[in-house]
Amino acid sequence: VKTLRVNMDRLEAKWESVLPEYERLGGRALIAKILLTEVPPQCEPLGPYNRLIFAPGLLGGTSLSSSGRLSIGGKSPLTGGVKEANCGGNGGSDLARLGVKALVVEGQPTDGKLYQLHVSSAGAELLSADEWRGLGTYDTAEKAQERWGASCTVISIGQAGEFLMSAAGVVCTGYGEQNSRVAARGGLGALMGSKGLKAVVLDSSATDALQAVDPELFHASARRFAKELIESPKTGREGAMHNFGTSAIVAAVNEMGAFPTRNFSVGSFEAVENLCGQRLREITLERGGKIGTPCMAGCVIACCNMFVDEDGKPVVSTLQYETIGLLGSNLGLGTLDEIAHLNRLCNDFGLDSIEAGAALGVAAEAGLARFGDKDSFVSLLEEIAAGSVLGRVLGQGAAVTGRVLGVSRVPVAKGQAMPAYDPRALKGNGVTYATSPMGADHTAGNAFGIRQQVNPLGTEGQCEASLKLQLDVTILDSTGLCLFARPPVFGDPQLMVDLINGRFGWRWSVEDLQEYKKAVLQMELAFNEKAGFTSADARIPEYMTREPLPPHNTVFDVPDAELDAIFSAL
């Protein structure tokens, strides 16, 4: 296993031995360590000193179900702090099977041109991609696969990344029709654009699944892991996640009053029945689309979909909960067809649908678009892709959009747009948004899952619950496991230990695992502190502490002192 270092100043790719201090780290943990070790925390995110890092998880590239997520990271152009965003698809597994512990992109090209990096068993090479300038991610992937083969994985940026917009994500092809998996958050597409890197193409066709050092332990653990997922009432074949995907929770979050509607002004949407998981399933199957399909080979959960139009033509894979919230109810749009259209544009332009949806909601509040009028939002997205002045404002995300347009009701934390849970009605998520080193990010510790233990509308116990969630997800993000695969390993942490020990022959204990989780958060917090973050950055926007959110008419009122003390036990 090697580190692949790509220097964009010299336009060279070099294989290096993995540093000893990086050996036991993967995915998010490795990104945090590289950032803390190699990147000046106060550097310009779009400048030459920042690094763009691609890292599979520790369990990536193996035969383990749901383990192939790809972590991408760097200093965030959006938040100015540490950033790891991960995506499904084939990228994580491919990189791991190609023997890449981390792909670290450094420097910037001096010629202003765009490049592609091709990695295969034969090696790595940088080639011109200037002919792909201005292409969306769908066309970029098609061009790359025409050149390198249809089985190659393509990780690319669209127009938003080329324009260095902070709402830009990185898009990765996946299994089958799942051609648009997005490491969306934090503006990593802009970081990739700043490196002059249009695409990374991975050809793992000459590789096999990675072998375990202790095959008996690993395979027994992997079998148990898959069996528990298949038998789970949530993730099994009869479960909501397989049958409805992430959209399963639309109706529930709406009923709980936390579903962002018309720029987070209301917590329930009158047309929710048209957006819920049941409706998505019905019309997708009626039209000949797909439900219950995997984004990565061998995933036993298979929670994805292929949404098609009335003629059965594919529109987007996968239409997900967060997008339904931010590009749907948040914009007052009440049909899945409208949302899918906007989602397709975001994926093509290489935009984070959460950040873009929040920015569009702010723009609508400023009068630049009309809630409920899809065409007005399409026009704004097209401004982004065209790189007009207005588009460049919107493409910088919700916070910049609010400042430029004079809107103070902007749903962000650390400058990053909130996902589709209003923190006034799901206060645990508000704590996570405020305190996570990542900014407002539901995947950093989603309290929707602990609603039975902690009253979503109360303040008591929210910080303790959020901290536990924030710790637990670090190990998923560092092993390449999907969030949905958490029940078996959260239920029995020894199972995670056995998987890791089986894969590498280590002798970790459950206590070691807990220390690992703490170390990840500690590294990320240390980076942010050195970058200049203070307690003032660990807050929910003021208007959410003053303006009650219907229907519960609650505000976010977890005390600042509790937010400030959340990590004191680390």
Binding site: P233, K234, A240, M241, T246, A252, E255, H442, N446, R451
Partner: protein
């Protein structure tokens, strides 16, 4: 559902609707999350969802 003026718990209500509690992830009563033991007030809105979790 007409409960005939009887005071019932969420669990009773689910039983009357022939819904197994093992297949229930979330119950809300008038938009607030509810446990199986809680009483269902008259003229309220009850929603039942399967086990699920957020992304």
């Amino acid at each position: 559902l007409d409960l005939g003026g009887c005071e019932v718990s969420v669990a009773d209500l689910l039983a009357r609707l022939d819904i197994e509690t093992a297949k229930v992830g979330i119950v809300t009563v008038d938009r607030r999350q509810s446990g199986f033991d809680e009483l269902v007030p008259a003229s309220c809105r009850v929603c039942v969802f399967p086990p699920m979790f957020g992304g």
